[in-house]
C-alpha cells in the first residue's frame, strides 16, 4: 500500500516539473475556467428571472450545484482527462505492453500517472463557491453534514471515474473511443442543473442509467443538510458496484488485448 503512495508522489512531482515548461497553458486554462464559470452563472440566472425557481431550488442553492460541478470539472481536468484519454493512445501504439510489464497494478498506473496542475484553481474555486453559496442559503454546517458531503463527493467521483474508465477500457476492442468520451462529457453537462429541474423521464435516466444526480445534485443536498440517508446508502452501493465492474471489465479486456505493431 505504501508503495502506491510513494509511486503517486513520484508521478505527480515529475508531472509538476514537466508542466512548469508550459506556463502559458496554465494561464489559458485559468482564463477559460473563469469564462466558463461566468457564462454558466449567467445562463443559470436566466432561469430565475421574474422570481421563478428552478425545480424547487432557490438561486443560492442552485449555485451550490454549480460549485460542485466546478469542483468535479477541476478534478476531471486535473486527473481523469490527462490519464484516461491516454489509454487509447497506449492501445493504438502498442505501448500498453510496457505498462502491463511494470510490477504495479495496471489500472492504478493508467489512472494516476499524470496530474495536470492547471485543474487545481478550478477545484479550489469550486469548493469556495459550494461553501459560500451554502452559507448564503442559510445552511448551518455540522460535522455530520460535512462528513456526508465528503462521502457523497467521493461517491460522485468514483461513479464518474468508473464510467469514464469503462469507455476508455473498451478501446482495447474499438481503438478509437474519443467520440464516445465526447458523448459522455456532453451528457455530464446536465449536472450543472438540479435533477428535479428535468422532465420525469430524464430524472429517471440521470439517476439510474447515467447517475448524473449522484455527481452534483446529491452532494449539494448533502452540504445543505437535505440529503436523505437512504440515498446516501444507495449511492455507496451503486458507486461500489460501478468501481468493481470497472475493475472486472479491465481484467476481462486485458484478456482480449492483442498488442499492436509488434
Amino acid at each position: 500500500m505504501q508503495r502506491y503512495f510513494k509511486t503517486i508522489r513520484l508521478f505527480w512531482s515529475t508531472a509538476f516539473a514537466s508542466q512548469l515548461e508550459y506556463q502559458l497553458n496554465f494561464l489559458i486554462e485559468l482564463l477559460a475556467m473563469l469564462g466558463t464559470l461566468l457564462g454558466s452563472v449567467f445562463i443559470l440566472s436566466l432561469f430565475f428571472t421574474g422570481g421563478r425557481q428552478l425545480g424547487d431550488w432557490t438561486w443560492e442553492s442552485a449555485l451550490v450545484i454549480q460549485g460542485v460541478y466546478t469542483f468535479l470539472d477541476g478534478l476531471t481536468n486535473a486527473l481523469l482527462r490527462p490519464n484516461l484519454t491516454e489509454i487509447v493512445n497506449y492501445v493504438r501504439e502498442g505501448t500498453l505492453d510496457y505498462v502491463l510489464l511494470k510490477p504495479i497494478d495496471s489500472q492504478f498506473w493508467l489512472s494516476v500517472q499524470k496530474f495536470s496542475f492547471a485543474g487545481l484553481p478550478e477545484i479550489i474555486l469550486g469548493l469556495s463557491i459550494v461553501f459560500w453559496a451554502a452559507i448564503q442559503s442559510g445552511s448551518t454546517f455540522s460535522i455530520y453534514s460535512l462528513l456526508v458531503f465528503i462521502i457523497s463527493l467521493l461517491i460522485g467521483f468514483i461513479i464518474l471515474y468508473s464510467v469514464w474508465f469503462l469507455i476508455a477500457a473498451s478501446s482495447i476492442w474499438f481503438v478509437k473511443t474519443w467520440n464516445a468520451t465526447e458523448v459522455l462529457r456532453a451528457l455530464l453537462a446536465a449536472g450543472r442543473y438540479p435533477i428535479s429541474a428535468y422532465p420525469v423521464i430524464l430524472r429517471f435516466v440521470f439517476t439510474l442509467v447515467l447517475p448524473v444526480a449522484f455527481l452534483t445534485t446529491f452532494p449539494a443536498e448533502a452540504i445543505l443538510g437535505e440529503l436523505k440517508f437512504n440515498i446516501l446508502f444507495f449511492g455507496l452501493i451503486l458507486s461500489s458496484l460501478f468501481f468493481i465492474f470497472s475493475r472486472l471489465f479491465w481484467k476481462f479486456a486485458l484478456k482480449h488485448y492483442t498488442s499492436a505493431s509488434s
Binding site: 469564462g35 466558463t36 457564462g39 458523448v183
Partner: protein
Amino acid sequence: MRIFGLSFKVIKTLLTTQYAYMLEYRIEIALWALSGVLPFIMFSLWSQNDVGNSFGLNDIGLARYFLSAFLVRQFSVVWVVFSFEEDSLSGRLSPYLLQPLHPLLRYVAAHLAEQATRLPFAIAIAITFFILNPSSFWLPSLPQLFLAYLSTHFAFTIAFLLQSLVAALCFWTEKSSALERLIFVPYLFLSGLLVPLSAFPSNVLKIAMLTPFPYLINFPAKILSGMPVDIFNGFLAQLLWISILVPSVNLLWKLGVKRYTAMGA
C-alpha cells in the same frame, strides 16, 4: 471556371477521396453527431421550467429553435485546429506545404466530406426528436430552407476561419489547441446553443452582437425555425466577418509559414 484557384477536377478529387476516407469512420461520426445533444438537454430544462414565455417563445417555438440549433451546429462544427496541430507536430505538414494546394483547403474538403457523412445521422436524430415531440413538427418553406442552408454555410466559414486563425499560431507555439478553448468558451455562451439570444438582457445582448458568435448558431437557427429575424442585417454581418477574417488568416498564415521549422521531420 476555377474556385479558389482550383479546377473542378481537383475539387472533385479532393472531395471524393475525403468522403471515402470519412465513410470509414461512420460509427465515430455517428457518436460525434450524438455528442451534440446539449441543445436538447437545454430544451428539456427551458420547457420544463416554463421559462420560454419570458422571452416570447412557447414550448413549440422552443422545441423548433433548439432542434434548429442542433442541426446548425451539426453542419458548422470545426476541428481544423486539432488536425492541424497533429499534422504540424508529426511533420505531415511538410509534404502538404510542398504541394501546389493550400493546406487549409485540404482541411476544408475534409470538413465538407464529414458533413456529408453526418447528414443521415443528423436526420435520424431529428426524426427521433419529432417522434418524442410530435407537436413541434414543422417543414420549413423552400426559401426558408435555402436561406438557412446559406447562413449555415456562412456560419461554418466564419467558424473555420476563426479556428484557422488559432491554428496558424501553431507556427509560433506548440500547443495552439489550448488557445482554442478561449474561442470555444465565448462561443458556447454567446452563440445561442444554450438559449435563444432573445432571452439575454438588452445590455448583454448588445455586447454579444458585436462578436461573431451569434451568427454561428442563433441567426441560422432562427431562420430555420421560422422565428422573426432581420435577414438582411444578419447576412450582412456574416459577410462582414468573413471579409475581416479572410485577409487576417491569410496574413497570419504567410507570416507563420516563414517561421516553419518542420518539427518531427
